[in-house]
Each structure stands twice: as structure tokens, then as C-alpha cells.
């Protein structure tokens, strides 16, 4: 039974197992004299009764099972000395009952059990029977750091999973790469499956309509921040093809399965968990002070703009005006419990995080109702329903749509320290003269409305029917209804708003996704042969509509964006799109004596996104495992308790490609001005590609699971190679065709890597000490572009990749995201052989091709944003009521492109610079690093701005104390208090705010770019957990 309990989450399967045992034990004939033993089995962790635990008289088959409260009554033969108490997920314990007839037995949890059940696609499997590469993250680990988004909790917890907080904004965008980047034009984000409902982790490109200032990727919200992390019981990350092929066209980037908490039989438990904390910026960037700035401005203008620079002193420290200590708090109240017939888990959550930039915050309220109801012996129904309301007041850290002016942080860095922050009326000063192009950062933070409100209902109802023993059918229906509203307004106190007398907008996106799944499961053991079959039909469809209006030139700033009809110029847009995915899936699990294991899966996916010639794709996988430790020759030794070799191969797809790309789309993109009015022109914007299909990844994985010393040491190692072909790219076609490119399956890339995870129970006495760690290395390279070109360099124009910008190139053999630019070669000094157009004090770039001229041809790969390896390391200690944990994260060998330095070290005048520019070249200070000050000069992208992005971070240290039961207060079952420090030490050479940065968001090409977004914070929190 426990081989494959596809419908049930872990808790239910435990219950079912217990139930079955109970039935079988009732049939045991009792003989001889016996005495009655009573008792309660409780969990050391929760101090609650464990229902369904087994109590067996040692070395007999006489036993009983605990009831819903954890109590049991057992008739034991006279003279019995020891009973064995066991329950899945807990360490089995032998208890002496000599001289007792009433015992209280406390079981310790066992994280190392191979009987643990692991959630896989469309089912669960015992850990020992797993043939694929799957990493599990438990709720406790997930919640250890204060997080707005569960994905943050995955960071550094699982091997092969690289999580990057792209933006430090509360609820901000995150990207996840499982075993590397496997797409360029499509998404590389994994598929997320919440209680069986597949959802996308992509930042919604339609959300953000109605913006007054563009939608910079790095400024986006993560859609996953709309889910409450506190409701999650466990997360499983499926990595190899054996595990992911069952998700077909959505498996190639890996799959993240999220299981939420469900009710358990027993007394109703009320749990409150809450914390409060403060976050702050890790460091300020060193800028020129007012004196240094005034000297620089005098030098560059050739005039005495500031008569007495020395008297100006430090001046205005703009950074101190925009950064704050941001409070964050989280409150979760949940009630769970149930009877044999019905189980429930209801929770309420409120999360509120102020950002470290003034006026930015994220708030979320959510409710969850998970129910399970047994209607009859073979019929069950259940629900997983959640509703979330979240609101984000975003700091505008992207560039405002205005030449020169920028978002809050870049403005704070560029703002002149010689100007006071507020004017005589107490309003933020509006810069004038030489600084007219710079926004006052305080003004951008306080006079710009940038609000996103998201309402999301995600729910699933299901019915299970046990047709005969071993054969079950489940039907489930689900809906994911998301409404996102964007409010924006820039008033006249900000330059962008002042230029047009106010600009505002409103945008709505409605995204409705529906899912139906039918699952058939059959499992049976034929002696030593164990078989489980799964068949699934599923259909999922989405309809998304959006509309946006923006207005500019308002009579005043009073109505903001709440009455756009007051605007003189109004722009409106709307869009509607849909997709549909039909799937037929099958899986066969077979094992012989649980020693030789085989898994075969196949999925046929039909997607509306594909071209007419390729509507359906087939995705098979095969995996085998050999539990060497079960062999006879492994018996009789005590060292190796578990040894399993795994191998898998399979094909997965990535269909997360832009919609409607196989069709020729006619649109009003060619307008013209006749009679001074806009005349709509309609034209085909692209050539149809009826052959368009999924990206195809073929992955081979070899793995080993080793358990030593009764599994006190557990090691899992995997090596893999994932070859992606049919990579979606825009292939350049002759421009004389009237089109620049055609979108299709032209490219190829490859990821290969190694992953290790280790879990050691160092001490297991009164002082309990666990160490767990993981380390992963991935190598990525492009193997094919379009059969014609060997590289695409930035600025190729027409035929370039969608959303390609200026930081990276694509070159066969090189990793995706490779930075492209010149090599910095010092500064031209007086007397050097200086080429035409340059003078002493200008930057010298290396003449790579040796033609004597510095031209675009002298650019090459100057850096790689992909890390050599990344790791996580956790120490957990427990002593009496105290618990302590230390969690370290590291990323090594990656490079970052510090784009802000292009501007903040340009020495071109009119804005503040890094303090390093004090050391700029002058005839008397022949610097070889910083060019001379000169108006209007620009700095080219070169390795000068490429920095080592490696870091080791003390991500979390938590100290907690669990109170012993206080007197006879038995209504308070458990209480724990804790304090934690997060991101509190970061060891790095990187000179920007924080090495964890990715301004381009989930973009596959512009990785590791720091264009001054929202910096990641450090935080200190104190929390409380109470169970009643």
C-alpha cells in the first residue's frame, strides 16, 4: 500500500497505512494470559498525540494502533518487557514496559527515514523507491528566513537549484534556474505545481500596463509572491528527465511541486506564528562629497561654478534620505484537525513588509481552506482553496521614461551633494541649471504613485473513487483567477511629471486559468513483483485580458489617476489572448523485491501555441535504480545502510514560448500622418511559421544515494547532461524580404553539471547536531544559432533575439549571457602615441585585432555571469529547549556587470560620481584608471566594469527556545520564541550594493547585470510560535 499512494499527500498516506494495519491487527487471534497496556504516543516536536502509530510487542505480531488522540490500548502477553513503537517520519523506539501498565511514549522525528514519502508528479513514492533526481525542502527550512515569497526559501536549500533575487524590492522578481539556463527566447523558469495545479513563475508581461514610466523587468513583482509561504508543508524539486518528463512540454526547466498543509486527525489545533523584524541596506556606496564634487564641477566646466569648494564639506548624503530601516511582520493563524471522516486546515495570514527604500512596501492577506471528506468507504472528496489580496507600493528603481533622469537609487547616486534636499517650503528641491536632467530622488520616492494590487484565487476540488482494491480514480477541477491592477501617477514635483503637467495611468490584467485532470491509478503486488500504473488526462486553458489607459497633461495633481478623462492626452490599449494544453500521460513503476526499480513515463502534449504542422509532441523517459544495499552481499556489515544507483534518460519540452508566434499577425503597427491625424495602417508584422514547436531537452542523469551508519550520513550525488535542441530563436532572414527575422526552432544549447548533497547527523544525544549541505556546478554553452551565424553581437539590429540588449552576446561554444565589450587598457598618458580623436587622459581600449584602430571589431567576451559553483550549508543544533541554526549560502566564480559605473565613473560632468573619480586623470595626476573629466564623454562597456560577483553569505542565524510545559497549563501545547539575523554577513569583493543582483529580471540573456535596481537588504527579526 505504501508503495504508491498517488492521491494522498504524506499525512493521508500515514493515516491510511495506520488504518490498514489496524484492520489487519483486529484479525489477530489472541491467546494466553494477557494484561492491558494503555498509553499515549506523542511527538517530541509538537508534543501532540500521534494518530496511527504502531505499538508492537517486540518480536511478535501482537500490536495496536493509536487513535486520533495518539492513545492506545493493547493486550500484551504477561511478561512482555519491551514494545516497539513506530510511525512513518519518526525514529522507531523500543520502550520498556516492565512494571507499567500506563506509558507515555515520545517519538523523535526522523528526517533520515527511507520510508518517507516523496511527492512526485501525479503521485507520491517512498523515498527508497525513487528512481529520479528529486530534492525536498521542508516547511521548517523554507520558513527559516523571513520571506515574502516561498521561492526565496528555496535558495541554497536544494542542489541544482539556483535562485536569484533579481530585485530586493518587497515581493520583487526572482528567477530560478534548475540545472542551468535552457532557453533563450522562451522562459527558463521552472513549472510550479501547487497541490496539483500547474502555475507559471514567469513575471507577467501584461501586468504593468497603465504605467507612466515603462515596465523595467527588474522592477517587476514576482507572481509567486501572491502565495502564502506559511501554508506550505513541503516542496519537491524535480530535476532529471525521469521526474520531469511526466510534465511533458513544461518539464524542461524542472518542476517545483508545492504541497500545502492539510488537516490531521486528532484534537483541533490552533497555531499562531508571528514575527516582527527590521531590514536595512547592507552598505552605502562611496560617492564624492560636496567639496570633491565642487572641485570636479569647476574643473570640468572650466568655470568657477563653486567659488569655495573646501567650505562645502560633506554636503547632502542623498542615499541617507532614500534608504530607511524597513519593518516587516508576519502573522499566521491556522486551525486544523479532524476526525476519521473529515479533516480540515484553515489558515489566515497577514504579511506586511516595508522596503528599505522610503515609501515602498508590500502587503498580503490570504486565507486557505483545505478540506478532506470521506463520504463512504470508497469515495472521498476534498478541496485546496486559497484567496490572496496583495498590494505593492513599488519604488521606481527603473529608469523613468525621460532622457537623463532616472529612478530613485540612481538619482540618489547622481544627485549633486551641493544641493540641499528640501527647498524653503519643505518640498523636495527641483534641480535646475546643470542638474536639471536629474530627478530629486526624494521626490521620485514620494511623488510617484506606483501601485500594484493583485487578487488571486487558486483552488482545486477533487473526488477520489476507489473502484476496487488497488484501483482508484481521481477527478479534479481547478481554477486560478488572477486580477492585477496597476496604478501610477507622476506629479509636477518630478521632472518627468513637470514636463507634461502630470502623467498617470491605470492598467488591469485578468488572467483566468482552468484545469481538469482525470487520474487512474492501479497498484498490485504479485509476490516479489510490485507494479503501479498511472494514467492521466489533463486539459488546462487560460484566457487573459488586459487593458490600460494612460493620460498626461492634467489641470492639477489632485485626482491622480482616478479620473483620467481630465488628461488632455489619453492613450488606451487592450489585449486578449488565450492558450490551451491537452495532455495524455502514463507511468509504469515496477520493482522486483524493492531491489531493482524501473520507471517508464510518457506524455503526449498538444498545445495551441505550436504551429499547425506540429500540434502534438511526445515526451518519454526511462529510469532504473538498483538498491545495492538490498543485495545479500551487502548484508552483515554495519557501515553502508543504504546504497542506490540511479540512471535516467528522457525527453522534455519547453512550450513556454510567446503566444501566437506561429501565425502571421496583422496589426496596426504602421500608422501614418495624413491631414495631421493618425491614420491606422495595418500590416503583417511577421512571417508565419507553421512548423513552430517546443524546445526539446534530452537529459541523461546518473545518480547515487548513499546512507552510512544507519543513515546518519546521507549523500546524494548526481551528474547530468541536458542537451536542448530546437531552441527558439529569431533567425535572421534577408532584410530585403521586408522582415528582419522569423521566429522558430533553430538553435541549440547544452547544460552539464554535478550536484552533491550531504546530510550528517553529527550528534544525536541530548545535544542534537545536524549538518546539511549542497553544492552544485553547472556549465552552459550555446551549440547552435541558426546554422548560418556563429554569433550574435549586441547591436546587430534586425535579426537579433527578442529583448536583446547591450550587455551580452550569443556565441557558439560560449555560455549564455557572456558579457561583450572592450578590454580596458589604462589611460592615454601625455607623450603616448595617441590615436586621432583621443587625447591624453582618455581611456585606452585594447586593439584586439591589431589594426591600429579602436573600433567595434575590438570587442570580445569580457566576462561570464554564470557561477563556477554555488552551495548552501546548514548547521542545526538542539539542546534541551534551545535550538540554533546557521545557514550559509555561497556563489562562486560568477562575474557581474556593474553598469552603474558607466555613468558614475564617466567623469562627464553634471552629476555626482563615485569617490574613485577623485583620482581622475589630470596632467598632474596621471591616473591609469580613471579618465580625465570632460563634458559629455561616454564610457564604453569594457572589462573595467566587470567584477567578481562571488560571495559567501551568512544568510540566517536563528536562536530559538521552546518552553517546557508550564505547570498544568495544558491548553498551551507548545510555545517557542526565536530571534534571527538574515544576510547579516556577506563576504564579497563586489563594489555595488549587493552581489545578489539581476536588474534584467528573468531575462535569459542579460544575466548578472547591476543597473542599480532595488538592493537586497539584511534583516533582524524576533518571532513567536504558539500552539493551542
Amino acid at each position: 500500500m505504501d508503495l504508491f499512494t498517488a492521491f494522498a499527500s504524506r499525512e493521508k498516506s500515514r493515516w491510511i497505512i495506520g488504518f490498514m494495519l489496524l484492520l489487519s491487527l483486529h484479525c489477530q487471534a489472541q491467546s494466553g494470559r494477557s494484561v492491558t497496556l494503555k498509553g499515549v504516543v506523542t511527538s517530541a516536536d509538537t508534543r501532540q498525540g500521534i494518530p496511527g502509530a504502531n505499538i508492537i510487542v517486540k518480536n511478535t505480531q501482537i500490536g495496536a494502533t493509536t487513535n486520533a488522540e495518539g492513545a492506545f490500548v493493547l493486550s500484551v502477553p504477561e511478561g512482555t518487557r519491551v514494545v516497539t513503537v513506530s510511525y512513518i517520519g519518526y525514529q522507531t523506539k523500543d520502550v520498556s514496559i516492565v512494571g507499567q501498565n500506563n506509558v507515555n511514549i515520545v517519538l523523535e522525528t526522523d528526517d533520515r527515514s527511507l520510508n518517507e514519502v516523496v511527492v512526485v508528479g501525479y503521485g507520491t513514492v517512498k523515498k527508497s523507491d525513487l528512481t529520479g533526481a528529486v530534492s525536498s525542502v521542508k516547511a521548517a527550512e523554507l520558513k527559516q528566513t523571513p520571506i515574502a515569497n516561498f521561492v526565496q526559501g528555496l535558495q541554497a536549500r536544494a542542489s541544482g537549484v539556483q535562485v536569484t533575487q533579481n530585485s530586493g524590492a518587497p515581493g520583487g522578481t526572482i528567477s530560478v534556474r534548475i540545472r542551468g539556463n535552457s532557453s533563450i527566447s522562451g522562459s527558463s523558469e521552472p513549472l510550479y505545481v501547487v497541490d496539483g495545479f500547474p502555475i507559471s513563475g514567469n513575471d507577467n508581461p501584461l501586468a504593468g500596463g497603465g504605467s507612466s514610466f515603462g515596465t523595467d523587468n527588474g522592477n517587476r513583482l514576482s507572481v509567486l509572491s501572491t502565495l502564502n509561504p506559511n501554508d506550505i508543508e513541503s516542496i519537491e524539486v524535480l530535476k532529471d528527465a525521469s521526474a520531469t518528463a511526466i510534465y511533458g512540454t513544461r518539464g524542461a526547466n524542472g518542476v517545483v511541486l508545492i504541497t500545502t498543509k492539510r488537516g490531521k486527525t486528532g484534537q483541533t489545533r490552533v497555531t499562531y506564528e508571528g514575527y516582527y523584524g527590521q531590514q536595512q541596506i547592507r552598505r552605502m556606496l562611496p560617492l564624492m562629497n560636496a567639496t570633491q564634487f565642487a572641485q570636479y564641477e569647476n574643473e570640468i566646466s572650466g568655470q568657477t561654478l563653486y567659488p569655495n569648494p573646501e567650505q562645502l564639506g560633506a554636503g547632502t548624503d542623498w542615499q541617507s534620505y532614500i534608504f530607511q530601516k524597513g519593518g516587516m511582520q508576519n502573522h499566521q493563524l491556522s486551525v486544523s484537525g479532524g476526525t476519521d471522516k473529515s479533516l480540515f486546515n484553515v489558515s489566515l495570514n497577514y504579511f506586511d513588509q516595508d522596503g528599505i527604500i522610503i515609501n515602498s512596501n508590500f502587503k498580503r492577506g490570504s486565507v486557505r481552506v483545505n478540506l478532506d471528506n470521506t463520504i463512504s468507504k470508497n469515495f472521498k472528496i476534498g478541496t485546496s482553496l486559497t484567496y490572496t489580496y496583495s498590494q505593492n507600493n513599488g519604488a521606481v528603481t527603473s529608469t523613468l521614461a525621460d532622457a537623463g533622469a532616472g529612478g530613485i537609487v540612481i538619482s540618489a547616486l547622481a544627485a549633486p551633494p551641493t544641493v540641499s534636499p528640501y527647498d524653503a517650503q519643505g518640498n523636495p528641491t527641483i534641480f535646475s541649471g546643470r542638474y536639471i536632467d536629474i530627478n530629486n530622488p526624494i521626490s521620485v520616492a514620494t511623488n510617484v504613485l506606483n501601485r500594484n494590487t493583485t487578487r488571486r484565487f487558486l483552488g482545486n476540488i477533487f473526488a477520489d473513487w476507489t473502484i476496487i482494491d488497488g484501483l482508484t480514480y481521481r477527478a479534479s477541477f481547478g481554477g486560478d483567477l488572477v486580477n492585477d491592477t496597476r496604478d501610477s501617477y507622476v506629479n509636477r514635483l518630478v521632472r518627468t511629471g513637470a514636463q507634461v503637467n502630470g502623467i498617470g495611468g491605470k492598467g488591469n490584467t485578468y488572467s483566468n486559468t482552468f484545469l481538469h485532470e482525470s487520474l487512474l491509478n492501479y497498484q498490485k503486488s504479485f509476490g516479489v513483483h510490485n507494479l503501479a500504473l498511472t494514467g492521466v488526462f489533463s486539459t488546462q486553458s487560460q484566457l487573459q485580458t488586459s487593458d490600460a489607459s494612460t493620460g498626461q497633461t492634467f489641470p492639477n495633481d489632485l485626482v491622480l489617476n482616478d479620473n483620467l478623462s481630465q488628461a488632455s492626452i489619453v492613450t488606451i490599449s487592450s489585449n486578449k489572448q488565450s492558450w490551451r494544453l491537452d495532455s495524455y500521460t502514463g507511468r509504469i513503476n515496477y520493482n522486483y523485491k524493492s531491489k531493482y526499480l524501473l520507471t517508464l513515463t510518457g506524455r503526449v502534449d498538444g498545445s495551441s501555441r505550436f504551429g499547425a504542422n506540429n500540434k502534438y509532441g511526445f515526451f518519454p523517459s526511462v529510469a532504473g535504480a538498483w538498491r545495492v544495499s538490498e543485495e545479500k552481499f551487502m548484508q552483515g556489515q554495519q557501515v553502508v545502510s543504504d546504497l542506490k544507483l540511479r540512471a535516467s534518460f528522457g525527453i522534455t519540452g519547453n512550450a513556454d514560448i510567446p503566444l501566437y508566434n506561429s501565425l502571421s499577425r496583422l496589426n496596426s503597427v504602421g500608422n501614418y500622418n495624413f491631414n495631421n491625424t493618425r491614420n491606422i495602417g495595418i500590416l503583417a508584422a511577421n512571417i508565419a511559421n507553421p512548423d513552430l514547436r517546443w524546445e526539446k531537452s534530452a537529459q541523461t542523469d546518473l545518480g547515487v544515494d548513499i546512507g552510512l551508519l544507519n543513515n546518519r550520513v546521507q549523500l546524494t550525488a548526481d551528474v547530468y547532461i541536458k542537451k536542448t535542441s530546437d531552441l527558439l530563436l529569431s533567425r535572421a532572414i534577408p532584410l530585403s524580404s521586408g522582415f528582419g527575422s522569423v521566429f522558430g526552432n533553430f538553435g541549440g544549447l547544452e547544460n552539464r553539471g554535478i550536484e552533491l548533497s550531504l546530510n550528517v547527523g553529527v550528534l544525536n544525544g541530548p545535544l542534537k547536531w545536524d549538518i546539511s549541505g549542497n553544492i552544485s556546478a553547472n556549465r552552459n554553452k550555446l551549440t547552435l544559432i541558426d546554422g548560418k551565424r556563429t554569433e550574435i553581437i549586441p547591436g546587430d539590429g534586425g535579426g537579433s533575439v527578442a529583448a536583446f540588449s547591450n550587455t551580452s552576446l550569443l556565441r557558439i561554444g560560449a555560455p549564455i549571457g557572456s558579457f561583450y565589450g572592450y578590454y580596458f587598457d589604462g589611460i592615454y598618458q601625455t607623450g603616448d602615441n595617441i590615436p586621432t580623436g583621443k587625447t591624453a587622459g582618455n581611456i585606452r581600449y585594447r586593439d584586439l585585432n591589431g589594426d591600429g584602430v579602436i573600433s567595434a571589431a575590438d570587442q570580445d567576451i569580457i566576462g561570464n555571469p554564470n557561477p563556477n559553483y554555488y552551495f548552501g550549508l546548514t548547521n542545526n543544533l538542539k539542546f534541551k529547549g534551545f535550538d540554533f541554526s546557521l545557514f550559509i549560502q555561497g556563489v562562486q566564480g560568477n562575474q557581474l556587470f556593474n553598469v552603474a559605473r558607466l555613468r558614475l565613473e564617466s567623469a562627464s560632468g553634471g552629476s555626482n560620481q563615485y569617490v574613485t573619480v577623485v583620482d581622475r586623470w589630470t596632467p598632474s595626476n596621471p591616473s591609469n584608471r580613471y579618465q580625465k573629466a570632460s563634458i559629455g564623454q561616454r564610457v564604453s562597456q569594457s572589462d573595467f566594469q566587470i567584477e567578481d560577483g562571488s560571495f559567501v553569505r551568512f544568510k540566517n542565524a536563528t536562536l530559538g527556545y521552546t518552553f517546557p510545559q508550564i505547570g498544568k497549563i495544558n491548553w498551551l501545547r507548545n510555545s517557542r520564541v526565536y530571534v534571527s539575523a538574515n544576510n547579516f554577513v556577506t563576504i564579497t569583493k563586489y563594489t555595488g550594493y549587493d552581489p545578489e543582483v539581476n536588474t534584467a529580471g528573468q531575462n535569459n540573456l542579460n544575466l548578472g547585470v547591476d543597473n542599480i535596481g532595488y538592493p537586497v537588504a539584511k534583516s533582524f527579526i524576533a518571532g513567536l510560535q504558539l500552539t493551542f
Partner: protein, 479 residues
């Protein structure tokens, strides 16, 4: 047990019921080719789209590519624009690539109109005009291509699939023959007064035809068409040359502007970006609301004007900046730089100007008439009359009488330089007359050397075209 065997059937039945719906993508926010080219308004919309590449082209690169190469203005040395001025560009230059791309976008869209509109059931008169406008546009785009790149592919049919994207080059004379045929037809079919302001009229086709004949070396036909247009009296010179470029007087200026790129700052349309380019840094909104300070005139060109020439007022040597400070030649901002004030828009939306950019205007036709007449018949009184009309409007004396044929032609070319400066014309005068290497002498402190070579007669075909079009070879000088 029987029920068990029924279950998979039930399952399959349910599955197929649910998949009854097609997996075809349902378009909502766009239309597909099969839904288009049915009505008169479809035909108009398709034609409008064929006009768009004009503004795509002239919002920037249409001017930048030829003008930065010539002897009237130069770019600030950023983002590779200076390659045009120092002749260091190669086939990968993006501005040249864009020039090519915009023109061929126009060709393809004109081809779509010419192929599809005949089957639309609509008013036959208007249908004929639509087809003629498309032929005019196709001729216009090919004229741009042939004068810029020389031998280029002639695409007569629109692109429908990937297979039909490659095409070989045709000889320049064949391209001229093809575009002249288009324009001849357009002269016949277009109305004298266009349906809307901004559309091509018969006169636009005839003027362009005269220019194309001049470039192709058919001076008789060039003279004939230019004279015919001048004598039609449909157009007249603006009395004050300074009014020609004022966005607030653009409708009055249509008397002279035979055909222009119709820019607009309205949302959804394309504005004239170069207003911001010519506006010096920190300048008041007299120039443009957004100032890039990215292009300036050569001092030598400024000095070539007769000081009484009204057209010199479209250039300047100083300005008062946004903070009220007079910036003159001694200031670093204007060192060796002349301000181009031909295209100003104080009401621009950012850098999007309302200015209409002249593609063909009557003064040009006068000078075509003068040159073609002189090349055909020598400096006759007809030729003198034509050039002097232009000179008188500029407020300068008539051309010295009794010039030799060569000297007269030289004077016309000089007049063209003054009259049509910054209008994307000079470089083509220099290349068609073989004088382009003289720009090597037009230097300043920013550009102390401009090593122009024979190969710069035509621009290289963009590298992306060469890479992707296996039937096409690079211009021999650029191989």
C-alpha cells in the same frame, strides 16, 4: 469486476469529449491574413502601412547616413555615428543596416498593396489611386536604395514565407528602369490634388521622376519632366525660405513641399527625432524640448554662404542656454561647431518634433531643371531662369552670366548644397557627380582626418543581408 473494464473507456470518452475543442490558436487582438484585403478600408489601411517606412527612415537614419558622410554636418562621436564621418564603417554598421531595412520594408508593403488591392471590391477610381500611390512609394524606396547602395535586389512580389526571402541583385540601371516605370505610371494615375494632405500627388511622382532621370543620366527626360511640373503651376516657392520648416506653417508650406515625411508628435505616430539631435546641450525649448546636442554644422560650410543669404539664418554660431548664458564659439559646447536651426520645434513631445521633412520640394525641382537643361543644352536662359528663381528667394544676386557649361553645373551643385543642406541630398550630389572624395578636405578639430576612398561611392550592403541571402553578393568594392 466488469465495471473496471468500463472505466478506462469512460476515461477515454471523457478525455475525447474535453478535447473536442480545437488546439488552433484563437486570435483576439490581431487579425490574420485571410481576414484582410476585403474592404475599401482594408485597402486604405494596407496603403497607410506602406507610407510608414518614410517616417521610420527619416526620423533618423535617412538623414544621418548621407549627411554625416558629406560636408555640411557631423555627429558627436558616439555610438558609432562617427564611422560615417571618418569612413571607418563596414557592412556591420547598424545605421546603414537600418536604412536598407526601412526601404525594403516599404517595398514589401507596397508590393502587398499592388498584389492584393486589385481584388478588393471598392470604388474603382480610388482603387486606381491607391495602386498608383503604392507604385509611387515603391519607386521612391527603390530610388533611395539605388542611390545609396547601387546594385540592389528588385523585389516585385511580397514576401509570404521563409522560402521566398532570398533574391539576387540587379544592376543599378535595371533598378532605375524599374522605378522609372513605377513613377511614370504613378504620374498618370495619381490625382493632381491628393485626397489627403501628406499623400503623394501626380506632381510628386513627376518631380521624383525628373530627379530619377537626372540620377540615371537621362537629362532630356529629366529636363522635360521638371519643366512640365514647373509649368503646371501647381506649386510655388514659399516667399520666405525661413517659413518652409516651421511646423506651425507646414500647411502653407505645402505650396512648395511637393512630398515630405509627415512627422507628428501625436501618440502612435513617429516624430522627427533630429530636432533633439541638432539642439545643443542645455538649450532652451526653442530648439526642442529634449536636447541631445548630437549633430552640428561645419564652420567651412557656414562660411561658404554669402552673409546676406537668408538661408544662412537657418544656421547659427551662438545660442542662449536654458540658464540664460550666451554660449558662443569660445565655449567648449560650440567649439568648431555651427548650430543647425533648420528643424526646430519648441512644442516637441520630448525629442519628437512635428516638423515635416522635405523629400521633394519645388526649389529642388527648379535646380533639377537648371542642371538637366545645362547638361542637355548648356547654360541656356531657361537654365539661368531656374537657378535664379531659387537665388532670388534666398535674397542673393543672380548667378553671373556667361558661365561655361561646367561652371554653370558647378554653380547649380553649390546652389543645391545651400538650398538643400541637411535635407539628405548633398552626399548623393557628390557621389553621382564623382566629387565625393572632396569631403576629405572638410575637417575640424573633432575630425582632423576623413580618409574617404573610392569604395565609399556606395555604401556596403548590410552584413545581415549578406549572411542570410545566399543569392546576393556584396558590392565588389566592399568584398
Amino acid at each position: 469486476m466488469k465495471r473496471i473494464y468500463q472505466l478506462p473507456l469512460l476515461f477515454i470518452a471523457l478525455a475525447s469529449a474535453l478535447t473536442g475543442c480545437q488546439l488552433a490558436e484563437k486570435p483576439y487582438s490581431f487579425i490574420t491574413p485571410s481576414q484582410f484585403y476585403n474592404t475599401a478600408s482594408d485597402a486604405e489601411a494596407a496603403l497607410t502601412a506602406a507610407y510608414t517606412p518614410i517616417t521610420d527612415l527619416y526620423s533618423r537614419v535617412g538623414t544621418q547616413v548621407p549627411d554625416y558622410s558629406a560636408d555640411q554636418c557631423f555627429p558627436r562621436a558616439v555610438v558609432g555615428r562617427e564611422q560615417l564621418t571618418v569612413f571607418s564603417y563596414d557592412a556591420t554598421n547598424d545605421l546603414i543596416g537600418q536604412y536598407w531595412q526601412h526601404c525594403y520594408n516599404g517595398v514589401n508593403r507596397a508590393n502587398q498593396v499592388i498584389e492584393n488591392v486589385p481584388r478588393v471590391s471598392m470604388d474603382e477610381t480610388r482603387k486606381k489611386q491607391i495602386l498608383a500611390e503604392a507604385q509611387f512609394l515603391r519607386g521612391l524606396y527603390y530610388f533611395h536604395l539605388v542611390k545609396t547602395f547601387g546594385d540592389v535586389p528588385i523585389k516585385q512580389i511580397s514576401t509570404k514565407d521563409i522560402a521566398s526571402t532570398e533574391a539576387p541583385k540587379s544592376k543599378a540601371e535595371d533598378v532605375y528602369a524599374f522605378l522609372i516605370k513605377d513613377l511614370e505610371q504613378a504620374v498618370k494615375d495619381l490625382p493632381a490634388q491628393p485626397k489627403d494632405r501628406g499623400r503623394a500627388a501626380s506632381g510628386a511622382a513627376q518631380g521624383l521622376l525628373a530627379k530619377a532621370y537626372l540620377y540615371a543620366g537621362n537629362y532630356a527626360k529629366a529636363a522635360e519632366n521638371a519643366q512640365s511640373l514647373l509649368q503646371s503651376n501647381r506649386y510655388s516657392l514659399m516667399p520666405n525660405v525661413l517659413d518652409l520648416y516651421n511646423p506651425l506653417k507646414e500647411d502653407a508650406a505645402r505650396a512648395e513641399m511637393i512630398f515630405a515625411a509627415e512627422f507628428s508628435a501625436l501618440s502612435g505616430l513617429i516624430g522627427y527625432d533630429l530636432v533633439g539631435f541638432y539642439a545643443p546641450a542645455n538649450s532652451p525649448p526653442v530648439f526642442s524640448k529634449t536636447a541631445f546636442g548630437s549633430a552640428f554644422g561645419y564652420m567651412s560650410f557656414y562660411k561658404s554662404f554669402n552673409p546676406i543669404d537668408k538661408r544662412r539664418q537657418l544656421l547659427d554660431t551662438a545660442y542662449v542656454n536654458a540658464t540664460g548664458v550666451l554660449i558662443g564659439q569660445s565655449d567648449v559646447t560650440l567649439k568648431d561647431r555651427i548650430l543647425v536651426k533648420k528643424f526646430l520645434d519648441p512644442n516637441s513631445n520630448g525629442a519628437n518634433g512635428e516638423n515635416n521633412f522635405p523629400i521633394l520640394r519645388l526649389a529642388d525641382v527648379y535646380l533639377i531643371a537648371a542642371e538637366a537643361e545645362a547638361r542637355q543644352n548648356g547654360p541656356t536662359s531657361v537654365a539661368y531662369a531656374a537657378i535664379n528663381t531659387v537665388r532670388r528667394r534666398a535674397g542673393i544676386p543672380d548667378l553671373t552670366t556667361g558661365l561655361t557649361k561646367d561652371a554653370f553645373i558647378e554653380a547649380v551643385l553649390q546652389e543645391r548644397s545651400w538650398e538643400l543642406c541637411y535635407e539628405a541630398d548633398r552626399w548623393y550630389d557628390l557621389t553621382r557627380t564623382g566629387k565625393f572624395k572632396l569631403v576629405a578636405n572638410v575637417l575640424n578639430s573633432y575630425y582632423p582626418s576623413r580618409p574617404v576612398q573610392d569604395k565609399h561611392r556606395f555604401f556596403p550592403i548590410p552584413n545581415l543581408e549578406i549572411l542570410t541571402n545566399s543569392q546576393l553578393e556584396q558590392n565588389p568594392a566592399w568584398k
